[in-house]
């Protein structure tokens, strides 16, 4: 009894995981992100200097043995700040996605399964959220709450959850009419058991894809807020604020802008390419040919 159909049905997919990475763009994206995660985790070991160690006598240095990518406008090591910047970006992305998953899965499944007033409330609130440009709302929230790492997280989590709830709800509506859910219910399974054992395994595919692509969106949103001076505050490094401060030296030292810009673009691109590859792998129908 314990092993229901959906669980076993999803297993063969796992065995085909290497096939998913066969596409060069997907494999490259996965590899890049793995390296980025390692960089973020071991930032203190990998960074040659502290991210906030200033040396006014050593401003805007070109690359050297001591400073592989040179120094910024107040003499801080650019490579070290890029490495810690990865940590900031990924921390925010993981934290926000975790909250979105928690809200999205519970609210979405409950709304789709129970319908009624809860479903109505969820739909109306998400309608309202969709009617407002995301980044403006995030700007408004951080502008109001004040600037800090935690408030960036709050703003982005508040802005991001509706899309996940809607995705989970619509999949739940479809799955809820399937026979394996109806039969589980006929056998007296509780809502909780249906959600965990029957719906969740079947929801995972689209949710994993949405989470992957969503990480890229959050990395971008954090960088935008930090670029505007509303996100991560000095001396903590964020790729977004590094682009902003680098831009002040664009004539003398354009690479100060290029390095964080390339890191940011590569990271967002990697999340998108990985998400695209995962989508095609999990849902062969999306492979139009």
């Amino acid at each position: 009894m314990a092993s229901s159909i959906p669980v076993s049905a999803s297993l063969p997919r796992l065995r085909r995981l290497p096939a998913a990475l066969a596409r060069p763009s997907t494999a490259l994206a996965a590899l890049f992100l793995a390296a980025l995660v390692v960089t973020a985790l071991f930032a203190p070991l990998l960074a040659p200097h502290r991210y906030d160690a200033q040396n006014p006598g050593n401003r805007l240095q070109p690359p050297s043995r001591v400073h592989p990518l040179g120094t910024d406008g107040v003499g801080r090591d650019v490579l070290s700040r890029l490495i810690y910047g990865a940590r900031v970006s990924l921390t925010i992305a993981v934290a926000v996605e975790a909250v979105e998953l928690l809200f999205g899965l519970t609210l979405g499944m409950l709304a789709g399964l129970r319908r009624g007033w809860l479903d109505n409330a969820v739909m109306r609130v998400t309608d309202l959220m969709f009617a407002f440009p995301d980044i403006l709302l995030a700007i408004l929230i951080t502008g109001t709450l004040g600037k800090s790492l935690f408030n960036v997280f709050v703003a982005l989590a508040l802005v991001g959850w509706p899309a996940m709830v809607r995705l989970v709800r619509s999949r739940t509506l479809t799955l809820g009419a399937e026979e394996f859910v109806l039969s589980a219910r006929a056998m007296g399974a509780s809502d909780g058991r249906i959600m965990l054992r029957h719906l969740l395994p079947n929801l995972l595919g689209p949710v994993v894809v949405a989470t992957t692509v969503g990480m890229g969106t959050i990395v971008l949103a954090e960088a935008t807020l930090s670029f505007l001076g509303l996100g991560i505050q000095e001396p903590f490094p964020s790729w977004g604020s590094m682009i902003n401060t680098g831009w002040q030296h664009r004539r003398s030292d354009p690479m100060l802008t290029v390095y964080p810009a390339v890191c940011l673009a590569a990271t967002i691109m990697a999340f998108n390419f990985l998400g695209d590859g995962l989508r095609d792998w999990l849902d062969p129908r999306s492979r139009h040919a």
């Binding site: 407002f132 440009p133 935008t224």
Partner: protein, 311 residues
């Protein structure tokens, strides 16, 4: 008749949304720590002048009264007074919005003129190298935000090649780089959507029928497929308005364009709440208005969509 009802319902929802957003926007300004008067006068201001200034801006009134004043003024076109400039906001924004609109329209035109042909080419040659190239280009375009692309474009075209100035100097073609930067993501989204939408439409029975009755391939695509395939593309454009509103904040700041985005960004650290609230609500109104228009256009293009929002 049903269509009229559909339009009315959509308009009612838009107005209700806008009203709720005005309440949210207002309360956020009211909740924010560190009142604007304190910021203006500094920490050691004497209580008398704080009280006088609060009275001048109506901040001594209870919040519902403040909200009522603000929103009724807003409806009549009076957007309030900027704390920072001590000037009415309406005329300041009127002076600045044309350049922002021009930037957004140029970016939108770029998105359609580049995105639609790219997506169409990919769909017509699905599976070929053309398709792969277009798809990869589009996914790359989606991934590169305006504020990454613009500095790179400026470094290349302005500082290296010296084709354009580094900041906006008043000529319309100076907007080329920021418009490309702002339009690249919408262009990529349009391309992806056009491809997916045409692929789906081209597989339909009525396309085969059109071909079977002897219509040429080109005419089939242009007359039969295009009408249906264009609907999802409209959605992308509607939601892209939101992205471009946010993007214009960044792009205007980077490129020194004296528009709405530029003044909004500098209003945030100055705690100029009336300005922030006015811009936020106006931006929301534009966003909601455009998406309302898209909804109604849908109804014209596809009668099946003339129904209430999905329950």
């Amino acid at each position: 008749m049903r269509f009229l009802l559909f339009i009315l319902q959509r308009c009612a929802f838009a107005v209700a949304t806008l009203w709720l957003l005005s309440v949210i926007t207002f309360s956020m300004g009211a909740m924010a720590p560190g009142g604007p008067v304190e910021v203006m006068l500094g920490q050691h201001a004497d209580p008398a002048s704080v009280a006088r200034l609060k009275k001048e801006f109506g901040l001594d009134q209870p919040l519902p009264v403040q909200y009522g004043r603000w929103i009724s003024g807003f409806v009549r076109g009076d957007l309030g007074t900027s704390y920072r400039f001590r000037e009415p906001i309406g005329p300041m924004l009127r002076e600045r919005y044309p350049i922002t609109v021009r930037l957004a329209l140029t970016a939108g035109a770029f998105a359609v003129l580049v995105g639609a042909p790219l997506g169409l080419a990919a769909a017509l040659r699905a599976g070929s190298w053309v398709d792969r190239l277009a798809t990869t280009t589009a996914l790359t375009g989606v991934s590169i935000p305006a504020f990454v692309l613009l500095p790179l474009l400026v470094l290349l075209f302005s500082l290296q090649l010296r084709w354009t100035p580094v900041t906006y100097e008043g000529e319309w073609w100076h907007l080329a780089l920021p418009a490309v930067a702002l339009g690249s993501r919408p262009a990529a989204l349009v391309a992806r959507m056009t491809r997916a939408s045409f692929l789906e439409t081209l597989g339909q029975d009525y396309i085969r029928t059109a071909r079977a009755k002897g219509l040429s391939w080109g005419r089939t695509v242009l007359t039969h497929a295009a009408k249906n395939a264009v609907i999802p593309v409209l959605t992308v454009l509607g939601t892209s308005v939101g992205y471009m509103l946010g993007g214009s904040f960044v792009v205007e700041t980077l490129f020194g364009i004296p528009g709405i985005g530029d003044i909004s960004v500098s209003s945030i650290p100055a705690r100029d709440y009336p300005m922030i609230q006015a811009v936020t609500l106006l931006a929301a109104a534009v966003f909601i208005g455009v998406n309302l228009l898209v909804d109604i256009l849908y109804g014209f293009l596809d009668p099946r969509l003339r129904v209430a929002p999905t329950p």
